[in-house]
């Protein structure tokens, strides 16, 4: 009898994934501005999120303008350019916030309609005739030019309208009721139809949902208390004043150097502190008294929107775009495996 041992084919063991588990800490949220700390991840992830928020978050913006009449002082393409830069706000049902429009609209290239349809575009009508409007204005204003603003754009989709103001403060301070487009004088009128489509900022900056999307590195401030004992109070004060970003202060009670509480908002990582310390050291190889270094895995993000979307929505949309991109690439790379 021969014993035949059959070994099962060794399955290729899947490698342990090298996944990171990033953390988020919110510093402040306002409708148009969000600040948060992203940590335990790499610069590449922070930069990817930043780049996507600037370039690849889909929004609505006016893309085509059909003129019926334009006797204003600005020519057609000038007004079309201004209309394109208006932030267009999509507010989903039941919400009061400018939301992500990608669920409600299709990109124009993907829509199956012939020219345009409510699924891929929004139509705005604007019809302002100086002489007609002038009759309704109070007497003292009758000679003044009439400003055509974003309020005059009438949308065919009740959920979509231009974002006239960023917040109430701006609304109170403004002279007009919305973003001014053109000013009309007697006998001038403007009649047009504007079609807004969904797009991304890579195609044209009018589709950019953010005004500012940036991140800073968290400062790691290490203060060598032992070495600081050797410094006099004047020297410590000198160190405090050496930083143009004022991230150090002298603790009144103990007389020690401490970092300011909101140092992360102000740190600019200049060389001034290092230069000042080198002058105070007995030997150049001595340890630094205070070391300020940018962290490699903790980032302070600040995102301000134009008013078209709320700041949180921009962040969610950016993460969704990144996820969809990863899924798409995963599927495409799978095809190569065959």
């Amino acid at each position: 009898l021969e014993l035949v041992l059959i070994f099962p084919l060794k399955k290729k063991k899947k490698k342990m994934p090298q996944q990171r588990f990033p953390k988020i800490e919110i510093l402040s949220i306002q409708p148009h501005h969000i600040q948060f700390i992203l940590s335990e991840t790499d610069t590449s992830m922070a930069n990817a999120i930043r780049r996507i928020m600037i370039a690849e978050v889909p929004t609505l913006a006016i893309d085509l303008v059909e003129y019926a009449e334009n006797s204003s002082v600005l020519n057609d393409e000038y007004i079309a350019h201004r209309l394109g830069l208006l932030p267009i706000r999509y507010v989903p049902e039941g919400s009061m916030r400018g939301g992500d429009c990608h669920t409600a609209f299709l990109p124009h290239t993907e829509c199956v309609c012939y020219d345009r349809c409510p699924r891929c575009s929004v139509e705005f009508e604007l019809d302002v005739d100086f002489d007609k409007v002038n009759m309704t204005r109070p007497d003292q204003d009758r000679d003044l030019p009439l400003t055509v603003t974003s309020r005059d754009l009438i949308s065919n989709n009740i959920l979509v309208a231009p974002a006239h103001f960023l917040n109430e403060e701006e609304q109170d301070e403004a002279h007009d009721e919305g973003i001014s487009i053109v000013k009309l004088g007697p006998g001038q009128n403007l009649k047009l139809k504007a079609i807004a489509r969904m797009g991304i900022s890579k195609e044209h900056a009018k589709w950019c949902p953010v005004a500012v999307a940036t991140y800073r590195f968290w400062p790691i401030i290490t203060i060598n208390d032992e070495a600081c004992q050797m410094l006099t109070m004047e020297q410590k004060q000198e160190l405090v004043e050496a930083c143009p970003d004022r991230i150090l202060e002298l603790d009144e009670i103990t007389g020690n150097l401490v970092a300011v509480e909101n140092a992360y908002e102000m740190a600019t990582y200049t060389e001034d502190l290092k230069v000042a310390q080198d002058a105070m050291k007995k030997r150049p190889e001595d340890d630094d008294f205070v070391k300020v270094e940018p962290s490699t895995d903790r980032f302070v993000f600040s995102v301000e929107t134009t008013g078209a979307m709320d700041a949180e929505e921009v962040l969610f949309s950016a993460l969704r775009v990144l996820k969809d991109r990863m899924n798409y690439l995963a599927a495409e790379v799978e095809k190569l495996k065959d």
Binding site: Q19, F21, P22, A55, R97, T109, K337
Partner: protein
């Protein structure tokens, strides 16, 4: 007159595939992936993730010309048991999971902040 369509920087041409692969003839276990219509956003992310994998001996990316929207990602693995495609696939999966994790973290952090700061019941 010669300006290409702006959408050409992110929409695939008719004859293009998103990802192409060519194995390196001179180096063992190495190959170059060409991603069409991509830029530093995804390329840097993939490269940094690949560098964290112990099976990867070399990982680097190039954007050969700013006007041509292609990325070359060269990967060399340390053994012939593991192909560059597999390593890339694992990196993409890890990044996808990391993004999912990030989405849940953001949702939780925002809810937590809203509770702590007692926002009025507007929106979500």
């Amino acid at each position: 007159m010669n300006a290409p369509e702006r959408s050409a920087c992110f929409l695939l041409d008719d004859d293009e595939e998103k990802v192409e692969y060519s194995a390196d003839t001179k180096v063992s276990n190495a190959g170059t992936f060409t991603f069409n219509k991509e830029d530093h956003t995804v390329a840097n992310l993939l490269r940094m993730q690949l560098l964290r994998d112990p099976a990867v001996k070399f990982a680097g990316y190039m954007h050969p010309h700013p006007l041509v929207h292609k990325i070359h990602l060269k990967i060399q693995t340390s053994t012939s048991q593991v192909a560059p495609v597999e390593v890339l696939s694992a990196a993409i999966e890890d990044l996808s999971n990391e993004t999912d994790h990030l989405i849940t973290q953001v949702t939780d952090a925002i809810d937590k902040w809203k509770k702590e700061n007692d926002q009025g019941g507007l929106g979500m």
